[in-house]
Amino acid sequence: MIQDPPTRTRPTYFEELKARGHSRRDFMKVCTTLAAYMGLESSGVAQIAKAMETKPRLPVIWLHFQECTCCSESFIRSSHPIVSDIILDQISLDYTETLMAASGHAAEAAMHKTMEDHYGDYILCVEGSVPTGEDGAYCCIGGKSAEQILQETAAGAKAIIAWGSCACNGCVQAAKPNPTHATPIHKLVSGKPIIRVPGCPPIGEVMAGVIVHVVTFGTLPELDGAGRPKAFYSKRVHDSCYRRPYYDAGMFVESFDDENAKKGYCLYKVGCKGPSTYNSCGIIKWNNGVSYPIQSGHGCIGCSESNFWDAGPFYRRMQSFPGFGIEADADEIGLAAAAATGIGIAAHAIGTNLRKSKLINNLIAEGKESEKEL
């Protein structure tokens, strides 16, 4: 928690809003929206209001490395415009390549000023993975490698938010053979709290919920074993899927153009990864709650899970097995092994009768002898 009192250089969020001409009523609306994003109950509104009235706002540095900016795109489209306003205007995004007005040396200077003035206090958001191959030559900004920038900025960060699958698990660029040695943030930075917000991209509302929690309360949200906020990643897409009754009833789409697909049956057999994927897509949905992949008739590809590119194919239930060609899955290999076992057993049975004939004949003769005696 931040203990130092608000100062002229670091006003509170409420003071910022007031200075911009917003009323207290607007302020309370914002607090309510934010509470909803964080998944808090209605009493949480008061906590947020108090935090935003009393805590100095947190500076944020937002870095972009190996990524496609889909996380930022998702974030700035989170459903309520006031949220992106709040976040973009109020969280004092001191440096972010995509959205800052400054460029070149001025931008670099702004970043360094934040790092120096707020050492130990700023939040570091990282979008993208860090290539460690070829001394980091695959991603350089301002003459420095991504890894150098990450280490410099991480040193004074209060906490790190790893945005998206790139920063959390390497995403597509870390798929085999991972030519640039794309590395997720938690493997490069130690000793700092890291919140992992996976997804390609993460849901905008989830990103808003996470960052708002961090900047308003100055604490980390509750995280699971994989460092993900429990509020958004504790349930599988499967558990909140509106097609789940079809799954339990065993009513499956067999191919994308069949009658079952038109009726909206479960997409399990055409490769839906919902049963293995932890995310809130089924509840928060996408594009202001309009839809999500399964609702649009396509299975979940598991974009928020580690290694999802290599755990394909997307349109089959069974994973292909590494080292046995593209199409061989565990069942095919198992069946081949069972057939080989059968052949081995047949050979062994024949061998037994040939090699152990004396023993076997003895047993038979002995048995026959006893039979006669009775």
Binding site: D224, A249, S276, T277, S306, A311, M318, D331, A338, G342
Partner: protein
């Protein structure tokens, strides 16, 4: 031709036999339902979802069988400390040089089919014992991966104990894959296991197959003498 005088030996105690058949039942149910869960057949394509719950029942049977399998396994570990000498854990985990020596003997006689030879082990032979030890490890892999997958959809305390497993394996994708691959170990094991029971019954004539019913094996008088001389040598 030689004749054998046979003596009745109580090898498998009742708890061991109950364990064996519960285990067989649970594994059969788990494999059958597991294969269906992995690749469900296209049974229904009409009507409403609320009219049926067949896939839910298949999964339910899988979970019930999993609990049975798990507690049965825990019981067997316990029995490895309190059961008779054929049930003892030392049959499974190699603790002496002699264990490896005998294991090699079994490989020579039963796998490479040394001409007209047979070995004298009464309970588990050392090779079988060691392979059962490997199956226990496979049991644990299945319990950890299975309950790890189950933890996300269960509020039960036992499943909760395994909630850390998905993160350890790097997510449910990998976990599911390992769970599925490990199943094939059980299938291959069952095939070889059943064959070898028939093989031993056929070559040794000691009632190998029926021993898991009544617990008895019928052992040649020579084996007892052989054991006596071994005891004397030890002294």
């Amino acid at each position: 031709m030689s004749t054998h005088a046979l003596r009745r030996v109580f090898v498998w105690e009742l708890p061991v036999r109950i364990y064996h058949w519960l285990n067989a039942l649970a594994i059969l149910a788990l494999i059958a339902t597991g294969l269906i869960i992995g690749d469900p057949p296209a049974i229904r394509s009409g009507g409403e979802a609320y009219e049926s719950y067949w896939f839910g029942w298949v999964r339910y049977i899988h979970f019930v069988a999993a609990y049975l399998f798990f507690f049965n396994f825990l019981f067997r570990i316990y029995w490895g400390f309190v059961g008779n000498k054929y049930a003892n854990w030392k049959n499974f985990i190699p603790t002496s040089k002699a264990f490896f020596k005998e294991m090699w003997e079994v490989i020579r006689i039963d796998i490479f089919l040394a001409k007209n030879k047979e070995h004298m082990a009464v309970g588990h032979n050392p090779l079988a014992g060691f392979i059962y030890f490997l199956t226990f490890i496979a049991f644990m892999v299945q319990v950890f991966t299975g309950f790890g997958l189950y933890a996300a959809m269960s509020d039960s305390f036992i499943a909760g104990l395994f909630a850390w497993v998905p993160a350890f394996f790097g997510g449910d994708f990998a976990l599911r894959q390992w769970h599925h691959i490990a199943m094939w170990f059980f299938i291959l094991f069952a095939i070889v296991h059943v064959y070898l029971v028939f093989y031993h019954d056929y070559v040794e004539g000691r009632g190998e197959i029926s021993s898991m019913g009544g617990g008895w094996k019928f052992i040649e008088e020579e084996a007892f003498q052989h054991e006596e001389t071994r005891e004397k040598e030890k002294v």
